[in-house]
Amino acid sequence: MMLIPCPWCGPRDESEFHYGGQAGVAYPDDPGALTDAEWARYLFFRDNPKGPFRERWSHTAGCRRWFSLVRDTVTNEIVA
């Protein structure tokens, strides 16, 4: 069970959090201007690296805030 540093509450058990996948995938400014392929890339394509990964978490059982961190997907070490 990881100890996840909530920026508001401090380190808490992983079970208090909800995982939100890759960070930095912004909702497109003008979805109507995108091709099907570009829109599909936003909807369905995510990185899946072995190593550091910037991802989103939400402290659902605590302060309910969303935040991002960088986790090493091999060791589960939170590196940033």
């Binding site: 069970m1 990881m2 995108l34 099907d36 909807l43 989103r56 309910r64």
Partner: protein, 931 residues
């Protein structure tokens, strides 16, 4: 007398407290402090079980948790399967029997209690042997909060088996127990090492008391420990090596024999042969000899083991090995031969013996280190895998788990590790107080995995019956990794997790492949280190505590009215209210008739309700819903659909505009938390500039649906101040008023197609409102009737008629998708090639030609003859009072173009023809909505 093989004195057993027990139907006597294994050995019983696959007789092989052979089933006082006899503390009245590989679960409810606790500490020490105790003592001296866990009934570890330095053990343990910031947990096995030093252990609190266990005390307790720093002092397990018939009862690990003698006062036999690859077995031989066990010979696989250490009278045979074992249920003789260049040579030496003590070396117990993410590296000097020191977690390893096998070294390493752990957490450790110990000269051991002999009877994994021949078969098929061989042969997958066989397996595979065992490596270590009962893991979270149960303010009324309940998420909702003699079908038909022909009421309080307010609330809801919300006037209500970005329906409900900057939105019962999370996610991560606040008010507002052509008269009589006329209170509007003397918000909404109202009052006032309605004789109805009424109108239930692959258009809700809004979540996806297909599965009605009630989930096929081309499936299916027949809703490919056509439903006993209709089967003109 507690057994013919009990020594006259010595050991840590209480000779004044005999215990009676029964094994395989025979009465025996043991002593307080025995394990079941030591008590059996004291009575001369070696053959206690048989193996799972080959059915070979098996004896006690080890003295602790690493035991692969002696599996027993406890029968009394409460059935428990698959326990190593070496871990069962003896108690009076124990009834057990030996197993052939598989146990039997209890067939009666377990009366014991189980619980769990969370603990935090600066330093967690796993293992209370010499290294662990030294570490704990030093860490505790710093004032750090320390937890020490050990799986034995008393601290001491290997010192208990050696019976030396027990005064030091008692002194350290006493100090730990007295220290206010230290917790010493015995009978506690750390079985899982998870991320960020989260270590989970199970404490066996009353198992050793048998029928005397006090009922109020939990039997087992799970400890979930978060430690800032961990010291692993988990010790080492002796291993065997593979030779023909190496599994016969009477073959035992050498160190185990010493433990039985010195800890339990038991001679494991009368005449022993010793086979060893290292120094450790010599002390065992000398101990046994001193206790009256004759040592016939010591065969040392090293050519030059050093001189003068075999006990008096024992023949020392350097370079010799075991060539054969005589006896099946118990060995009677051992044949030795000289080994040269991997083959036996010269004459045989056959020695009578009832005990063959084997030491193939020692394996550091690195399972927790591996679970922690560390790697075990092969150490050529040790002939074993040990922690490589590169684990990222905040931990130390000390003692024999680190490959240090002298007592002096273990104590020193433990003290140093305890000091480092204390310092790492900001404490200043004191000086260690360690006992004086000898520093024996050590001759390096030799790693030998197999001896010449029949590979089909040379066992590698005793519990799984994996032989050298099996491993040869695996490598012969081309397997080149320890993981593949493990899965192919099952070596290491039994509940002993290959503790005595894992390294041996790697060694044999490496030898067969001609690779370095260090390059081959070990298999992956995963929790649990030792078996844990599901009862312990469940703890108190069973029965009513398994999951929270949510009930409405009217629950007690529903119970008193005889309602049957349906689980909807965590909610208990009335399903239907049977009257005397009614079955479900009759009750639901009656409830439906009341709603369609008179007036009926339902507790709709479980609907999710979210208060959305703020200057940008309308902008926000326009982005979330597929239809336009911002044009809604205060006082009005609109049905709305939400999609995910991929265009699939997420939820639906109503949106009530309370003011320019305030809305109340409803969600489906099971989706309330999901939608609140959804709103917060978009607000926080994409649109933080929007001034919007969302608050769950599900349990602030209780909701009663009042349904039927007579509902207007009922409402008028209860709310005299309210204009209930058709024009004065239009469809999809709301009013604040007083109903039955209670502050109420009344919405003219219908989920049945009938004239209907939803009356919202404070949760506290719900019962008063409901009773005022009930006094008028209004029929209560449950979720089943609600489902029938809505399905007759073709209203989908999100999550029942949809499955995450359904668009609003598929549901026939295209009218609720705005064409004028620039964007909303999901809009772009409606023009994707796949989403815009016209042959997608669409929601339609079904009328079974034969009047069957179709099972929900039944597949629908195009024709009655093969090939049975699948078109879709039934999503909802009911008896209809209004239609006087059964009907269903279904998702069918291109279904709206197939209205009038016959398709076939697949039932258990064949195919049934059904006719496709539009989804709205009742009052398609909507004439009944306004009463």
């Amino acid at each position: 007398m507690s057994g013919a093989f009990r020594t006259a004195r010595g050991g840590l057993v209480d000779r004044d407290r005999p215990l009676r027990f029964r094994f395989d139907g025979v009465e025996y006597e043991g002593l307080q402090g025995d394990t079941l294994a030591s008590a059996l050995l004291a009575n001369g019983v070696h053959h206690v079980a048989s193996s799972i696959r080959l059915g070979r007789p098996r004896g006690v092989f080890a003295a602790g948790v690493e035991e692969p052979n002696a599996l027993v089933q406890i029968e009394e006082p409460f059935p428990e399967p698959m326990l190593p006899a070496t871990t069962v503390e003896l108690y009076d009245g124990l009834v057990a029997r030996g197993l052939r590989g598989r146990g039997r679960l209890a067939d009666r409810p377990d009366p014991a209690r189980y619980d769990a606790t969370h603990a935090h500490c600066d330093v967690l020490v796993v293992g209370a042997g010499p290294a662990g105790l030294a570490a704990a003592a030093v860490a505790a001296s710093s004032g750090a909060r320390v937890i020490v866990v050990d799986d034995q009934p008393r601290p001491g570890g290997s010192l208990l088996g050696a019976a030396e330095h027990l005064d030091w053990v008692a002194s350290v343990a006493g100090g730990l127990r007295a220290a206010p910031e230290v917790r010493l947990l015995t009978r506690t096995t750390a079985f899982g090492y998870y991320d960020d030093n989260h270590v989970v252990a199970v404490e066996r609190r009353t198992n050793h008391l048998g029928a005397q266990a006090p009922a109020h005390r939990s039997r087992e307790r799970v400890w979930r420990i978060r430690a800032r720093h961990v010291v692993l002092a988990t010790g080492a397990h002796e291993r065997s090596l593979a030779f023909a018939d190496n599994d016969r009862p009477g073959v035992m690990l050498a160190g185990a024999a010493q433990t039985y003698l010195r800890r339990y006062g038991v001679r494991p036999g009368r005449r022993a042969v010793v086979l060893t690859t290292n120094d450790s077995a010599y002390a065992v031989a000398r101990d046994l000899h001193a206790a009256g066990v004759e040592i016939a010979a010591v065969a040392d696989l090293r050519d030059s083991p050093g001189a003068g250490r075999a006990p008096h009278g024992a023949e020392l045979l350097p370079g010799w090995a075991v060539a054969g074992v005589t006896g099946a249920d118990r060995i009677s003789a051992v044949t030795l031969r000289r080994l040269a260049g991997g083959a036996f040579t010269g004459p045989e030496l056959r020695l009578d013996a009832d005990l063959l003590l084997v030491s193939g070396g020692w394996n550091p117990v690195g399972a927790l280190y591996g679970q922690a993410g560390g790697r075990l590296a092969y150490d050529d000097g040790l002939g074993a895998f040990r922690p490589d020191g590169g684990c990222r977690q905040a931990l130390e390893v000390a003692g024999s788990v680190a490959g240090t096998y002298t007592l002096k070294g273990c104590l020193a390493e433990g003290a140093a590790a305890g000091a480092r752990a204390a310092e790492a957490t900001g404490f200043r450790p004191g000086e260690p107080d360690l006992p004086e110990t000898a520093d024996p000269e050590v001759t390096p051991g030799v790693a030998v995995w197999t001896l010449p002999g029949d590979p089909a009877t040379s066992l590698v994994d005793l519990q799984r019956d994996v032989t050298v021949a099996d491993i040869a078969r695996a490598t012969g098929t081309g397997m080149r990794s320890a993981e593949h061989v493990k899965r192919y042969t099952t070596a290491g997958t039994a509940h002993d997790q290959g503790r005595t066989s894992g390294t041996l397996t790697s060694g044999i595979v490496a030898e067969m492949l001609g690779v370095n065992v260090g390059d081959l490596g070990t298999t992956t270590f995963r929790p649990p280190y030792a078996p844990v009962s599901f009862a312990a893991l469940a703890g108190r979270d069973r029965g009513m505590r398994f999951d929270p149960v949510r009930v409405t303010a009217l629950h007690a009324w529903h119970v008193a009215a005889g309602a049957l309940f349906e689980n909807v998420g965590q909610w208990k909702r009335p399903w239907y209210y049977p009257r005397d003699g009614e079955d479900m079908a009759a009750a639901v038909l009656r409830e439906c008739r009341a709603a369609r022909e008179g007036v009926a009421m339902m507790d709709a309080s479980t609907l999710g309700k979210i208060d959305v307010r703020g200057a940008d609330a309308a902008v926000f809801l326009d982005r979330l819903y597929t239809n336009m919300i911002s044009t809604l006037k205060p006082g009005a209500i609109r049905y709305g659909v939400m999609c995910r970005p991929d265009g699939m329906v997420l939820d639906d409900g109503t949106v009530i505009r309370l003011a320019e900057d305030r809305f109340l939105v409803t969600t489906t019962t099971g989706n309330a938390a999901v939608i609140l999370d959804w709103m917060e996610e978009w607000l926080q991560t994409e649109w933080p500039q929007l001034r919007v606040y969302c608050t769950s008010v599900t349990e602030q507002w209780a909701t009663v649906a009042l349904v039927g052509p007579e509902s207007r008269e009922v409402l008028a009589s209860l709310a005299p101040g309210l204009d209930v006329s058709r024009d004065g209170f239009g469809f999809m509007t709301w009013r604040d008023t007083t109903v039955a003397g209670l502050d109420a918000r009344v919405c003219r909404i219908s989920f049945s197609g009938e004239l209907a109202y939803e009356i919202n009052v404070s949760w506290w006032d719900a019962l008063a409102l409901w009773e005022a309605l009930a006094e008028r004789g209004i029929t209560p109805y449950g979720t089943q009737t609600m489902h029938v009424l809505r399905a007759e109108k073709g209203y989908p239930i999100i999550g029942q008629d949809t499955d995450g692959t359904v668009t609003p258009h598929d549901l026939g809700l295209g009218w609720a998708v705005s064409r004028t809004k620039a964007d909303f979540i999901g809009k772009r996806s409606f023009t994707r090639t796949d989403t815009a297909r016209t042959d997608r599965k669409q929601l339609v009605g079904l009328l079974p030609d034969g009047g069957e009630l179709l099972p929900e989930g039944a597949h629908l096929v195009a024709a009655a003859e093969p090939p049975l081309t699948a078109l879709g499936h039934v999503t909802s299916s009911y008896h209809s009072a209004a239609l006087g027949r059964t009907f269903a809703l279904a998702l069918i490919e291109g279904g709206r173009d197939l209205v009038g056509r016959t398709v076939w439903a697949t039932l258990d006993d064949g195919l049934a023809p059904v006719t496709i209709t539009g989804a709205v089967l009742y009052d398609p003109e909507g004439a009944r909505r306004d009463g």
